[in-house]
Point group: C2
Chain length 324, copies 2
């Protein structure tokens, strides 16, 4: 349903809009892993996360009337910024439903990018309902954060890009670790990567308690996270795998990996010290899985996506001060 | 004396050794500047700074006997790590004379990369004398941190790379801001950039009190910094412009720009918040010059080099906590 051609078209649309983030290597990381690790730092992407890719890919394909009526999205912050930025570039008005406990910087940045913010309580309100009501009132289009072919194709440009970059360096890739919330990034990336090399193994990484994709891959059906679940990874707190993303992921992914909040904190410190990158908790889970030895990396070549860097300084500072 | 061909050859030698760091854009930065800013984040380079480029370019051209006898260098930390890493890759033993107040992480990393460390007092000892004595005892070669054609050509690959990257994006560059200690990075980069487009204006940026190049460009001769001078920028505390670098810089550079320690701190906070990059003080001076309005950027396209990211967490944390 979504093909490598859709992802290539998305890559063309994104030229000059999204940054081609580099593949970075680091001696300390290779040493820990006992193999070759290539890091894809999407924290350096426009708006500080990969989300601009899917948002722009969808918004740029809206019809004239749809574009005129604006869009509505819900997001804890990264998709919010992606949608607001894409709207700003394309002259499309954007309204975003955000949890009131989202990182301050994510709310402020979304606002600065021109997004209209509607706050709600993450544990009581129903963001989807709120967004749909607003969309109905305004005749606006909903921009889902993962469950849409154009979003999946846009995020898939991450996978396409890193495989082409590895190829350009004559590097044969064995496996890739990609964070997983609703599963849009990994679904699109898996389609792209498997098209270029069907032998590449692709692992979803989730926070403990938000391991809905890992459990769904076991049971074969879409499992839900418990509503009392909490995690430091604000960007990965989805309820369950997507209707569109899950069938793709079920077909293409290896079993899921999970990491603890402490694994994530360690990975953020490692990124500061050795990669010189500011990575947010949700953006660090794949690196955390490597460092915590959740997957065999010895004598292998592994791609690791750092999906975002939008973290408030206060939290960042607390995590750094912890040391390890 | 050093030509674009030398720099192209260095680029070939560095393939697979140094990372091709990307050109990054950022809406907030363009907004502040009123023009287009492209950031070249050499903090993402192997060893956390551009120094691997020159070090590897020199070490890889040593004769068999020279390579066997090892090398000696002096450095506050970034050149140290570059030399140690290049030595490790090429199987050449390295000894590095470092000030005892150098950032802890720089000393530790140099050691971990296989460098033998010799500490001295920055304000009392003469690092050059110490290094030359060791070199004489061992029959080892000196690896200067800037005043050598191979070092200059290696560092010049930064300028070459960013011009080619801008060209690949059909971007006409008006000017570039590059930090300046001994002047190796900017001399090499200026040769490369001016060869590709003689209209590009290249500004050296220095910390206040370490503005030897700015003053030398005014007087036409190599001026010295006062020995009581202090700066937060540990990487840029050279005594005076180089014998080889200055004649190049005199011919190719615009007048020098200077920034205060506070300008640098602000720039480091900006890089954290908006670029998701960890930049060390000396690596942030060019960005600081943009943010402090030291050069006209409105309606222009400006390249800015962030030369390194090797900063201890304690200092980084203090600077972040200051806020602005």
């Amino acid at each position: 349903m979504i093909s490598i051609d859709d992802i290539s078209s998305a890559a063309t649309r994104l030229r000059g809009v999204a940054v081609e983030t580099p593949l970075i290597r680091c001696a300390e990381l290779d040493q820990v892993a006992g193999g070759r690790i290539y890091v894809k730092p999407e924290c350096l992407q426009v708006t500080g996360s990969f989300k601009i890719r899917g948002a722009y890919n969808l918004l740029s394909q809206l019809g004239e009337m749809q574009a005129k009526n604006g869009v509505v999205a819900w997001s804890s912050g990264n998709h919010a910024q992606g949608v607001a930025a894409a709207g700003g570039m394309l002259g499309i008005s954007t309204a975003i439903v955000m949890p009131e406990d989202a990182p301050k910087s994510k709310i402020e940045n979304t606002q600065r990018l021109g997004g209209e913010i509607i706050l709600y309580n993450r544990y009581e309100g129903d963001r989807e309902k709120i967004a749909k009501r607003i969309a109905a009132e305004r005749g606006a289009s909903i921009v889902p954060s993962y469950d849409h072919p154009h979003i999946i194709a846009g995020q898939g440009t991450v996978g396409l890009e890193m495989m082409l970059q590895a190829q350009a360096q004559d590097t044969e890739v064995d496996q890739a670790l990609v964070c997983c919330g609703g599963g849009g990034l990994i679904a699109g990336s898996a389609i792209a990567m498997k098209s270029l090399n069907s032998d590449v193994k692709i692992y979803p990484v989730e926070p403990i308690c938000f391991d809905d994709t890992a459990r769904s891959l076991c049971s074969g059906q879409r499992e839900k996270n418990h509503q009392n679940a909490r995690s430091i990874c604000d960007a990965l707190q989805t309820e369950s795998p997507g209707e569109i993303t899950f069938p793709i992921n079920k077909k293409l992914l290896e079993p899921g990996l999970t990491v603890s909040d402490d694994d994530v904190r360690s990975a953020m410190r490692f990124a500061f010290r050795n990669l010189k990158l500011v990575v947010e908790p949700g953006g660090a889970v794949a690196l955390a899985a490597i460092l915590a030895g959740k997957v065999e990396t010895a004598r292998k070549t592994t791609l690791v996506v750092l999906s975002g860097g939008n973290v408030d300084y206060k939290l960042f500072s607390e995590i750094m001060a912890d040391g390890d």
